[in-house]
Subunit: 313 residues, 2 copies
């Protein structure tokens, strides 16, 4: 299969659904709706919705049954980018080649647009109980999963740890490899950040897809392991691309080095980062093989794992 | 009954539960947990949890059954205060007599602590399905209600409209009473702001209490009307207190006048504001009388309605 074509096709469906869900929210001030749609429409691969629908489809369901849940994760992802770009956090002017939300709408409205996307992600997720295909219990479980991976012990926790890691390497770079205690502390912190900041929502996507399909506990576990591995690999590749990637393709300046951030590359170098990502993807394939269902049904998730290390943006 | 004593008793229970729920979140960076607890522990009447539990109790349930839902609303309320105080929004240094979150933890962590409280409010709400007393369907309905009243078409929408209203009166004050069109526009905008920014979460509290108790559609409607009336009255009294209140009691400077905000007082004056609040409270009592159940069971909600116009902070 051509995974790039698959992504383009799925992205179109997700984009359309996202617009419908946002416009269905009643009583929203026009400027706030505009700001929400601006960041939601800024492009991107829609990796998380694709992972959720593809996981659900392994078990025989149709993607249309779980579009609300798929869109809810993309709304959470988008809010996190808006807040992450704020002057008080990463202070980024560009995102996917376009001015960031606060550059266009001002800081106050960017904070609120992020808050609204985060809150109404749960409205949209709730719609999934109205498709008639999904049990209410499963939707409520998805609320729990989404809040867990997006909240204080998940993505937001990762962001908070990342703040503390800012400047971690300042003046310590030389002693890092000779000072084992410092290296271990850096490694622990880095693992926490990677696992929570990025891998969290990827885990949520796959776990929600599995729960919506009423997957068995065994299948759920292997899919959850798969997600954790590709999520970590995704962040490692992100760190590498921030250093070596084509700035034009990435649509942003490499801000990690500028901020002296603790990243996989700054700790292990590019070569070891790439091999670690490859090891994680191999693990992901193994986990996927243990999930019940035909090889064909799992093709997309296999292809996505490979795509994550091969992407150039 | 002594409503003040009642509030103190209930506040103690809510405060304890809030701490338990926050500490039960796993894998949270200590500084983030500290920042969340700082704002949650900053005092306040816990009006929203009290409204939720008192509404639930009308129908014979025990408050312990719905403490998770009650705490989830307080978490949403607290996050909104943290973000509202940010330099890019209201830029307030004090809240309830204590330095605001960003003054203590910095702006970046304040944004994240707000995001975490908002997200994990849904984790805590999810716990309400684990008390064994509440149907999963009812908890899922609460997720919908909370997201609706807190999101883009609710509280966040009210905040966004409030941003647009900032400076609305600048240079227009004199012509406001002679220019009918301008006056009507101001009145419409003000109504939107009041109904969404403050009344929304008060509506959510009462409606969630009713849904958790499986109230009949008729009772739900009257309770919802009650909530809307006391919510509007609450914001009007807030506007009045911002002008005439004892700064020490309020624990904050009156920032509305400083920011030339559109408020009930700036539009109608103090006297008409007070009579409108009183009219709304009378309506609230009428609606409450139409709710089934003994007069005694509804005493607390009657007392809260009166308390809202009599409070001095």
């Amino acid at each position: 299969m051509d995974i790039k074509k698959y992504f383009i096709k799925r992205t179109t469906i997700t984009n359309k659904a996202l617009k419908v869900f946002i416009k269905a929210l009643q009583d929203v001030p026009p400027i706030l709706q505009k700001s929400m749609l601006y960041s939601l429409s800024a492009g991107g691969k829609r990796l998380r919705p694709v992972l959720l629908t593809a996981t659900y489809e392994i078990f025989g369901g149709k993607k249309e049954d779980v579009l609300p849940a798929a869109c809810s994760i993309e709304m959470i992802h988008t809010y996190s980018l808006i807040h992450d770009d704020l002057p008080s956090l990463d202070n980024d002017d560009l995102r996917r080649g376009k001015p960031t939300n606060h550059k266009v709408f001002g800081e106050a409205l960017a904070v609120l647009a992020g808050d609204a996307l985060l809150t109404n992600a749960f409205t949209v997720l709730g719609h999934n109980a109205e498709t008639g295909k999904i049990k209410e219990k499963n939707v409520l479980d998805c609320v729990r999963i989404l809040a867990k991976y997006a909240g204080a012990g998940g993505m937001v926790g990762g962001q908070a740890a990342d703040l503390g890691a800012e400047g971690f390497l300042q003046g310590k770079k030389l002693s890092l490899r000779s000072n084992k205690k410092l290296f271990n502390a850096a490694n622990d912190l880095l693992n926490y950040i990677h696992l929570h900041k990025t891998a969290g929502l990827i885990s949520a996507s796959v776990e929600m897809g599995a729960v919506l399909a009423s997957a068995s506990p065994k299948d759920f576990k292997h899919l959850s392991n798969y997600a954790r591995s590709i999520g970590l690999a995704f962040q490692i590749v992100d760190d590498v691309l921030d250093v070596i990637g084509d700035k034009k393709k990435l649509g942003k300046k490499g801000s990690d080095a500028r901020n002296k951030k603790l990243t996989y590359v700054s700790l292990f170098g590019i070569e070891e980062s790439n091999s670690h990502a490859a090891r994680l993807i191999a693990e992901a394939h193994d986990e996927l093989d243990k999930v019940s269902g035909s090889v064909k049904a799992k093709t997309v998730l296999h292809e996505i794992a490979d795509f994550i290390v091969k992407r150039d943006k």
